[in-house]
């Protein structure tokens, strides 16, 4: 049996000296080949007594298995050594930038529009859109702004002909939706979109801007519903800790009408330059839909009532991000737009 151990030792020494797969193959033939060492050992068996034969056979087999396993192990080890070398030669400078295509960004105004859309979709609202070129009937008359109303001055709107203009708010979409529903079912919509007023552009005025209006009409829609809805929106826009304040105001299409202030997010309502020491910042106008508006769009004001609100998207963006000039939104400077990655 000592002889067997010697064979193993000799094999291992030879194996570790192998430099290539060919040498390993030769070594394997030397031991396991037809004229190899193990064949010779097997041939010794016929000279052994019958009771030793099985033991001898098993021992030779064990060496065979040993040699085969060792060769596999050795090959794997050599492979891994070569691989490690190869990987080392492939070392890269991981600080160099990757080959990505830098993603673009959604325009800040549309980011805010989508945020508000998502909030209201979650509350069960539909998002309604409509034409920007409108009849003055939809834009004014059906909103309780009759022809001689001061707010309908030709000076203040972009008229295309005496009865057509670029809409001055997205309220005509509310009118269209109410007429579409035929005065018979509840309405719960928000209307985002571009609107136009005949203003000269400066830091706080833009002849084109974005607005989102909301409208809920049902049999019991109340001002308390309006208040809860606006609070939700103010918190979504300016933070969970915000409160709102409703102040009496006037719009021809709502009665009662309110201006809505949000508690100042910079000073927490204590008073600062942002809120002009009042603790509140005006963010939107709202009110209960004027019965004339309901009537003109086919709803019976004795059965239905509702609330409406309108918010300027630019104003929200300017407040939230401290943007000082409304014209930035329409200049589209990359260095401006790309600051607002989602």
């Amino acid at each position: 049996m000592k002889e067997f151990e010697t064979i193993k030792q000799r094999f291992l020494e030879s194996l570790s000296a192998c430099k290539s797969d060919a040498e390993i193959a030769d070594l394997k033939a030397e031991y396991l080949g037809k004229t190899g060492v193990l064949t010779a050992l097997m041939q010794q068996m016929k000279d052994l007594p019958a009771d030793e034969k099985p033991k001898h056979g098993a021992a030779v087999n064990a060496i065979k298995v040993f040699i085969e396993d060792e060769i596999i192990r050795f090959k794997e080890k050599k492979y891994q050594e070569r691989l490690t070398e190869k990987l080392a030669s492939e070392k890269l400078d991981i600080t160099l930038p990757g080959n990505q295509q830098t993603p673009g960004v959604r325009h800040l105004l549309n980011q805010i529009v989508e945020e508000i859309e998502d909030l209201f979709v979650g509350l069960g609202y539909q998002v309604k859109e409509g034409p920007e070129i409108e009849t003055d009937e939809n834009n004014f008359e059906k909103l309780n702004l009759p022809a001689d109303h001061p707010a309908r001055d030709m000076q203040d709107s972009f008229y295309i002909d005496p009865h057509t203009l670029l809409r001055t708010h997205t309220s005509p979409v509310q009118v269209r939706t109410m007429i579409e529903k035929g005065g018979l079912e509840p309405v719960k919509i928000i209307c985002p979109g571009k609107v136009y007023r005949r203003d000269d552009d400066d830091a706080t005025h833009s002849h084109q801007f974005m607005q989102i209006e909301g409208l809920v009409v049902d049999q019991n829609t109340s001002m308390a519903d309006l208040k809860g809805t606006l609070l939700k929106m103010a918190q979504a826009m300016f933070g969970e800790d915000r409160t709102i304040r409703l102040r009496p105001s006037y719009f021809p299409f709502t009665e009662p009408s309110v201006e809505v202030d949000v508690s100042c997010y910079q000073c927490e309502g204590k008073g600062c330059s942002l809120c002009k020491q009042t603790g509140y910042i005006e963010i939107l106008g709202a009110g209960m839909v004027h019965p004339n508006v309901l009537k003109m769009s086919g709803y019976d004001p004795d059965k239905y009532q509702g609330f409406a609100f309108g918010i300027g998207v630019e104003r929200i963006a300017m407040l939230r991000h401290g943007i000082e000039d409304i014209r930035h939104f329409y200049t589209n400077d990359h260095r401006f737009l790309k600051q607002f990655k989602r």
């Binding site: 609202y125 972009f158 084109q208 049902d218 809805t229 009496p248 009532q305 400077d333």
Partner: protein, 776 residues
């Protein structure tokens, strides 16, 4: 409205501070813009100048003054300071506007214990100031007025009842739970009979009252009156004009004073103007009138433009001795139209066009007449000349408790409602929780039940309303079009495009290179030349943005805009893409300049999101490179165009090499799509073979692909163009196109001969149909 707090206190006992009243008004009535002192300084006092002595070698004077019984020395540089004047002094400790601090100082060796102030040093708007130098107090004046506060109200157009101190008093009274104290006005009349006769000959004048005040002296108003006007933001002029303004601010009723001796008769006729009638207003402008305007005439000539402005010829001057005073009620809409047409907006027209309270017309006349007699040392002639149409009965509004609570969403009791009506001094009757309110003339803004709900809501305070979401149950979701829009935008951003929003108004000529037919929507009164028409193409706006960046050394730009384009036959949603520079922004190992195939790839990406494939055809639009542009067609419909912008157009923008695409996403959204049917994934291996052809340079690659499809080769799965080559050894007018063909058939494993045979018939078909050669 600038509300003087002290003036307000004439009608109410107010214990709250002006700031507290300001907060109440903002919360419950109208927004208060600011609460500020009239004189923007503290430590002010009235003083009598006892003596004035010159100081040698200085233009300053040493003044001895009496302040509340104490003698003080003040060095003053004003030339108009004189003995026996009453002046306003800022005492040590005072801070003047601009931060100037008053302390005891040594001037020319004299200890000066304060400063004698001019009005401008006290923060009074210079346009109200009539004098040079220090302010000399005229006549009786209460030192308390030095501490008056102004509550500046931003009024909404419906609350014009607050354009008077009395109107504000009703409001503040309602907020502080007290009734307004109405002063009694009595006129002391002389024996002379008022000779005037009034004739109204127009529907647009509802009432007209006149009084004659005789033997008055036109002079500077006393201090208290001037200070009141300055508090209200009105420039003092003389006692007669000032009194008309004072009563207007006090009661809200505009008045007009005529020089009685300039009127040619004692008949006042109110009529509509004649067409093209000329009239010179007191601002010395000759106005051409229309039949819609109201004129006041002295039976011969117009003497005032009713409700808007008086005439130059009958204006009260320093020489006026007798005054005819008018107080009238005009139709609001008429005043509004006249003042707008003539661009003549006055304190008077502003009040008339919003509606004044009919019950104060006579009251104001009497108050002003009495004041004129008192302050002008004259007498009021006996009787009021008047012509009055029958006033409309008070408006009645009905409302139920249920409707109030249903609208506000708060359970108010009948007592709550009644208390609020009482506080607002609105007379009402009630039966079975149904209220009938008789609207007083001062609140003509209250027209319908909802107006009363607003009164109740704001007095209860919106802070006290509960806050919850509507109970209406409804389905909330974006429409398929809205969802698709968001998806495409998100993809574009992933591809590197940033969204821009440009103005919808531009110039037709900028659109022309990018549209087939121009049907511009034009604005009647554009703000300027650059904003005359609505955009018909998105490309000019995108080029403007790119040009902006190029001018700022930003040369790699990928932008998109999702906007409408507008033509006379309608507006439709479009998507515009524009690329300049390198697709991968500055990269150390991989940058690719934008080319036609880049923008085409982007277009294909967008189209794949709509589940459609397009064919591309030569484009004939001046704005595009004639050989690097394409018309994009889906199912026989044009859905857009794309390509290299023509260098001649780019030259106008100072640009080179910009690639754009414009897609009609409104049409794309309408393309019918069948929902995808499931095919089991093939378990068969596929065979791929590459074949190359030499073709004329001008031949579109799509001819080869189409040709293969037309050959109807058995088992053909797909054809790809994998290489296009030009150059040696090909001729100059040739190119090589390599196609990769995929073959596969369910349940069949191909033998080599079978594949060869199919590739041969495919090649033969192309060679025959396109007259090209195979490149081996």
């Amino acid at each position: 409205m600038n509300l003087s707090f002290q003036w307000l206190k004439e009608y109410l006992n107010i214990t709250a501070s002006p700031q507290e009243i300001g907060v109440l008004l903002t919360k419950h009535a109208q927004e208060v813009a600011e609460v500020r002192p009239l004189f923007k300084a503290s430590f002010l006092a009235l003083a009598q100048v006892l003596s004035v002595e010159p100081i040698e070698g200085s233009k300053n004077k040493k003044c001895t003054v009496n302040v509340n019984g104490q003698q003080k020395t003040i060095v003053c540089g004003a030339s108009n300071v004189a003995k026996d004047q009453t002046v306003i002094v800022a005492l040590p400790g005072a801070t003047l506007p601009g931060g100037k601090k008053i302390e005891v100082t040594q001037l020319a060796g004299i200890s000066s214990e304060g400063m004698i102030c001019s009005l401008s040093e006290l923060g009074i708007n210079p346009k109200f100031i009539q004098e040079e130098g220090i302010h000399v107090v005229q006549g009786p004046f209460n030192a308390e007025a030095l501490e008056d506060m102004i509550i500046e109200l931003d009024l909404t157009p419906n609350r014009m009842d607050l354009l008077s101190v009395l109107g504000c008093a009703y409001e503040v009274g309602a907020l502080t739970h007290q009734k307004v104290k109405l002063p009694l006005i009595s006129v002391t009349e002389s024996a002379t009979k008022n000779p005037y006769e009034i004739k109204i000959e127009t529907d647009d004048c509802h009432a007209y009252y006149g009084r004659l005040i005789e033997n008055i002296t036109v002079k500077e108003s006393p201090e208290w009156l001037k200070v009141r006007l300055m508090a209200a933001g009105i420039r003092p002029i003389n006692n007669i004009v000032d009194i008309t303004n004072y009563v207007m601010i006090d009661l809200g009723q505009p008045l007009h004073a005529f020089d009685h001796d300039q009127l040619t008769s004692n008949i006042i006729r109110i009529r509509n103007a004649n067409a093209k009638e000329k009239f010179t207003t007191l601002d010395q402008q000759v106005r051409t009138l229309t039949e819609k305007d109201i004129v006041i005439t002295d039976d011969h000539y117009p003497v005032a433009l009713g409700g808007v402005m008086g005439g130059l010829d009958s204006e009260v001057t320093p020489d006026t001795v007798n005054v005819f005073l008018e107080s009238a009620l005009f139709e609001p809409k008429v005043i509004s139209k006249t003042s707008r047409r003539l661009d003549l907006r006055s304190e008077s027209s502003m009040r008339f066009e919003r509606g004044v309270s009919p019950d104060r017309v006579l009251l104001a006349l009497n108050k002003a007449a009495q004041l004129m007699a008192e302050l002008g040392s004259g007498t009021v002639a006996k009787g009021v000349a008047e012509a009055v149409k029958k006033p409309a009965p008070p408006r009645q509004i009905e409302i139920t408790l249920a409707k109030i609570n249903q609208t506000l969403g708060v359970p108010l009791s009948a007592l709550d409602i009644e208390t609020i009506f009482d506080r607002l001094e609105l007379p009402f009757k009630v039966q079975n929780e149904r209220y009938q309110v008789a609207v007083p003339p001062r609140r003509i803004d209250l027209e319908i039940a909802q107006d009363l709900i607003e009164e109740i809501g704001r007095l209860v305070g919106y802070d006290h309303l509960p806050s919850h979401l509507p109970s209406t149950v409804s389905e909330g979701q974006l429409s398929p079009v809205q969802k698709k829009r968001r998806q495409v935008k998100t993809h574009l951003e992933g591809l590197g495009f940033s969204e821009v929003i440009t103005y919808s108004l531009n110039q037709e000529k900028k659109d022309l290179p990018f549209i087939k037919t121009s049907k511009p929507v034009s604005i009647l009164r554009p703000l300027n030349e650059a904003n005359q028409t609505l955009k018909q193409s998105l490309v000019p706006g995108l080029l403007d943005v790119i040009s902006y960046h190029q001018a700022r050394q930003i040369e790699d730009v990928m932008i998109y805009e999702w906007s409408k384009s507008y033509q006379t036959d309608g507006e439709s949603e479009r998507l515009g893409l524009a690329m300049m520079g390198r697709v991968n922004e500055p990269s150390w190992n991989l940058t690719k300049a934008v080319d036609f195939y880049q923008i085409k790839g982007m277009v294909e990406h967008v189209l794949s999101l709509y589940g459609v494939e397009a064919s591309y055809h030569p484009l004939d639009l001046k704005g595009y490179h004639p050989h690097q542009s394409a018309l994009v067609v889906v199912s026989g419909k044009t859905v857009g165009q794309m390509g290299h912008v023509h260098p001649l157009v780019l030259r106008d923008y100072d640009l080179e090499n910009v690639f754009v695409a414009e897609l009609d996403v409104a049409t794309l959204a309408l393309v019918e799509k069948t929902s995808p049917a499931y095919h089991p994934v093939s378990k068969m291996p596929f065979v791929k073979r590459d074949v190359a052809f030499t073709v004329p340079l001008t031949m579109p690659a799509s001819d080869l692909v189409d040709g293969i499809h037309q050959a109807q080769i058995d088992a053909l799965q797909n054809v790809e163009i994998i290489d296009v080559y030009q150059g040696s050894p090909l001729k100059e007018n040739e190119k090589s196109i390599t196609l990769r063909v995929y073959l596969s058939k369910e349940g069949h494993t191909f033998k080599t001969e079978e594949i060869d045979q199919r590739i041969k018939s495919l090649t033969d078909a192309l060679i025959t149909s396109l007259k090209i050669t195979q490149r081996l």
